[in-house]
């Protein structure tokens, strides 16, 4: 008996949807101390599968058929009381968002205490400290008295892992445990998981949408789509020769690249010139106390970009890359420095000239779910910019422009009369692109335009952006944390760390022979698909 967990013929249905099951015919098994990755896009049912194993499904979900065997026990048949014991001893789970899975009003010690049976033991503190040290928190003596908000994201995830392994589980379910973390921390967490797996001899069910992460950690890969398993393959074979078409397209999407125009002569003038930009935020002060300490979000940043090129700013969260984008768009005040667009210092423009000038540079936001007003029809959303930035157009001209642009981003004219919530994430990002494209800007600031999208959709949106660049003269300023993606699409790169640009130059120079230690570290941490 080699199997730790066996899922057989699992069918799951959501009560409001009577027509079809959300999960159909799920069959797989996990052997002892094996790492299995569940891969799929959002809505493919990978999280539901995991939740049905640990029986944490919402009440609206109902398992219609199937059995989940864990060490000869059918988890779907046993009493809740017994299930609780299993959750306590044998199966643990790590959730995606470490910020939300820790209780903000409990100290780390109290949170960890919950996962022990012998919490009345006098030596429990030393046990907790041992446990925290084993997940790589070295100053555990200090950490156990802290509260979650005093820890960084990576530390919180370590605490979560410590909670999960405190009972030495036989199976650890990790639901996208690294998605909200920076790459360097992601690598640390992945290494930690692998190390713990060896030490505790436990199996891991790893849920992710990122193929590269999966290839780093797993022995076996299971691909899910629309609630069914499409492929179940050994990791080594999968990345060399996937059996299924969909798996192939997933694999291709994660190798996105654009053909770089070689040796084109770029004009001498710059479309964007940033000189000694500083954006400082005052630390919170109340009405009566003047507190003159600052957070240096952007500190003495200078770079420039050529028309028709793609420049990328890459950095981890908190490095100040989004603040630069906001400073360019005028969404945040500038402490000092100059921003020149088309050789025009935008700080020197007065209000009405500024309004006219805005049509030359526009922005695409990260989250297409919050960048479109839910109470406006798509047509009105696209028209908004036109009405304010090109008021000389009459009604029919505006309507024609809007219809043209919605077709050019690959949507029907019908969609102009719909509301944003009727579209998927990718379609919404297309609408957001259409909204700025209709103004014919010269510079487009893209703030992580694809990071909240699935890989295949990501590819489509990037294709669209590249296609637009081939049609019209436009420059992109990409802002991203994903150095792998950036290195495939951009002409020049600036690497940011803690508000400063640590390195700037041509993509090939930076990727292939960087001199900077931070960039080296960043490049090393990026998960690569092992072949």
């Amino acid at each position: 008996m080699n199997n730790l967990l066996q899922v057989k013929n699992l069918y799951l249905r959501i009560k409001s949807n009577k027509k079809s099951e959300v999960l159909r015919n799920i069959n797989f098994e996990i052997k002892k101390s094996e790492v299995v990755s569940l891969i799929g896009e959002s809505g493919s049912g990978k999280s539901l599968t995991a939740l049905s194993i640990i029986r944490l499904l919402e009440k609206s979900c109902k398992i219609v058929n199937g059995e989940i065997k864990f060490l000869d026990k059918d988890l779907l048949q046993i009493e809740e009381k017994e299930m609780r014991k299993i959750r306590k001893k044998d199966i643990s789970m790590i959730f995606q968002e470490p910020m939300r899975s820790l209780n903000p009003v409990m100290s780390i010690r109290d949170q960890l205490l919950e996962s022990y049976d012998d919490y009345k033991d006098k030596n429990i503190d030393s046990k907790i400290i041992q446990n925290l040290i084993s997940v790589g928190i070295n100053d555990a003596n200090r950490v156990i008295n802290l509260y979650p908000h005093q820890l960084s994201g990576g530390m919180k995830q370590r605490v979560m892992i410590a909670m999960a392994i405190s009972c030495k589980p036989k199976l650890l379910i990790a639901d996208e445990p690294t998605t909200s973390l920076d790459v360097t921390i992601q690598k640390q967490v992945l290494d930690l998981l692998l190390e713990l797996k060896e030490k505790l001899n436990m199996a891991i069910l790893f849920i992710t949408h990122d193929l590269a992460v999966a290839s780093q950690i797993s022995d076996r890969i299971i691909v899910m789509k629309n609630g069914t398993i499409i492929e179940n393959n050994q990791s080594k074979e999968f990345f060399i020769k996937p059996k299924d078409e969909y798996s192939k397209s997933l694999l291709e999407s994660s190798f996105y690249s654009r053909k770089l125009k070689e040796n084109i002569s770029l004009p001498n003038e710059n479309i964007l010139n940033i000189k000694n930009l500083r954006v400082y935020f005052k630390e919170k002060n109340t009405m009566f106390s003047r507190n003159e300490s600052y957070i240096k979000a952007v500190d003495d940043v200078s770079f420039s970009m050529k028309p028709g090129s793609i420049h990328s700013i890459v950095g981890e969260s908190g490095s100040g890359k989004t603040t630069i984008a906001k400073a360019i768009m005028g969404l945040t005040h500038i402490t000092s420095g100059h921003i020149e667009i088309l050789n025009q210092d935008i700080a020197a423009l007065n209000k009405s000239n500024m309004r006219n000038f805005r049509k030359f540079y526009q922005m695409i936001f990260q989250d297409p779910f919050s960048s479109l007003n839910p109470r406006m029809r798509v047509g009105n959303i696209i028209k908004e910019g036109l009405c304010f930035l090109k008021p000389q157009l009459n009604k029919t001209e505006t309507n024609n422009l809007v219809e043209d642009v919605i077709k050019s981003v690959g949507l029907d004219v019908d969609s102009l009369y719909k509301y944003p919530h009727e579209f998927s994430g990718g379609q919404r990002q297309r609408i957001a692109i259409a909204r700025v494209l209709v103004l014919e800007p010269k510079l487009l600031v893209c703030d992580e335009p694809t990071s909240s999208l699935d890989v295949t959709v990501q590819k489509q949106v990037l294709d669209l952006l590249m296609d637009i660049q081939n049609r019209v003269q436009i420059s992109y300023l990409f802002i991203s944390h994903d150095i792998k993606l950036i290195s495939n699409i951009s002409d020049t790169i600036s690497v940011m760390y803690k508000g400063k640009i640590v390195e700037s130059g041509k993509t090939s120079d930076i990727i292939n022979n960087t001199k900077n230690n931070y960039t080296k570290n960043l490049l090393k941490s990026v998960p690569q698909i092992k072949n």
Binding site: K326, M329, R358, M363, Q366, S370, M376, L389, R435
Partner: protein, 362 residues
């Protein structure tokens, strides 16, 4: 309006207390006197119970005729013209159900109300049903007028505080925190007392008691409105602070929209659901507050028909023996129904204006 002498219980033919009556042969007798205007004019049967049952049956039959017409209008094909404004209601079962209930209750009340005092009479012999219905006006007036007074304060100050921030925010916050910490009953009481002093010092300015009563009602609405905007203002401040950072607001800023157009186009539509819910909750609270204020004699004028005054009067009615329960009961019933339906109505309105929740109407 014809009034009886004093209390009589619902559907009764006699007064509620015994009186000494002179008989024809000059003898005196102590008994329950007959009611003068209603309760002794049975249309169909002499026996009250039989007559009530028959009248109810008849009026229900009558209402079914109406309901049948409504059914034909909304549920048969080809009756409604294509451009008729009633078309959206076609085949709407909820509409049929609520209209039918309304028709049945109204006809029942009408048919029974012409023959009996359905909810009895009060101390001065007035029909309690009539009083309760008249009180709806006062309740709704206080609810809506106060809301209208309070809404502009709440919406404008809330959005300005949240969206503009900085010193504007500080000032508005201090204003409403200060206002909130004044005990509102004391404030209302002092305002009403001030008005009463003014009215008794200048009796010539008011031609009759109705004018005084109206002025007092209006004053009450104003002072309630001035004290009750703080809650909604605080909610809206928080929400617009959140919306200020949302990406679609930032996107429209990069389109060069002025602050005021961002507020009108993006912020106001997205806080409307909070406004609607709070307004209705406040409306209900105000209807109930009127009752409380009248109970402590600082509400509407005692001559105004209002549930608060009815409840105030019930204080004495409940302490006599045998007790008079119907005034309090009908004030409670009417208030309950109004507040419940205001809440249900607001839910539907909010849903109808939310593009994510509304069903397809095409």
């Amino acid at each position: 309006m014809n009034t009886e002498k004093s209390y009589s219980s619902p559907f009764s033919s006699y007064l509620y207390s015994k009186e000494t009556m002179k008989l024809e042969n000059n003898k005196e007798k102590r008994d329950y006197p007959k009611l003068l205007y209603k309760g002794n004019h049975n249309k169909y049967y002499k026996d009250n119970t039989k007559n009530i049952l028959f009248t109810s049956l008849l009026s229900i039959l009558k209402s079914f005729i109406f309901i049948f017409f409504i059914y034909i209008l909304f549920f048969r094909k080809y009756i409604l013209r294509k451009n008729s404004f009633l078309l959206p209601f076609k085949n709407n079962k909820t509409l049929l159900l609520s209209l039918s209930t309304m028709i049945i209750i109204l006809l029942l009340l009408y048919d029974l109300g012409t023959q009996y005092y359905v909810l009895g009479t009060d101390k001065v012999g007035e029909d309690v049903l009539y009083k309760s219905i008249k009180s709806i006006r006062t309740g709704i007036l206080i609810g809506t007028l106060t809301t209208i007074v309070m809404l502009p304060f709440a919406i404008f100050l809330g959005i300005f505080a949240g969206y503009i921030g900085g010193y504007v925010d500080d000032i508005i916050q201090y204003v409403y925190t200060t206002l909130n910490s004044i005990p509102s009953v004391l404030l209302i009481a002092s305002a009403i007392l001030m008005l009463q002093v003014y009215m008794s010092n200048n009796p010539l300015e008011f031609e009759n008691i109705y004018e005084r009563a109206d002025l007092r009602l209006f004053f009450l609405c104003m002072i309630l409105g001035l004290t009750s905007w703080t809650g909604l203002c605080r909610l809206l401040r928080g929400e617009s602070m959140k919306l200020r950072e949302v990406e679609y607001v930032q996107a429209s800023y990069t389109f060069g929209l002025k602050k005021i157009s961002i507020i009108v186009r993006h912020i106001i539509p997205n806080i409307m659901h909070i406004v609607i819910i709070t307004v209705v909750l406040d409306f209900s609270a105000l209807v109930l507050a009127e009752a409380v204020l009248s109970y402590v004699n600082i509400g509407v004028d005692p001559t105004t028909y209002s549930w608060g005054n009815m409840i105030n009067a019930a204080r004495l009615e409940m302490s006599r023996e045998p007790i008079v329960w119907w005034s309090l009961f009908s004030a409670f019933l009417f208030m309950f129904i109004l507040v419940l339906f205001a809440n249900l109505f607001s839910d539907v309105v909010r849903e109808a204006f939310d593009p994510r929740a509304s069903k397809n109407y095409e």
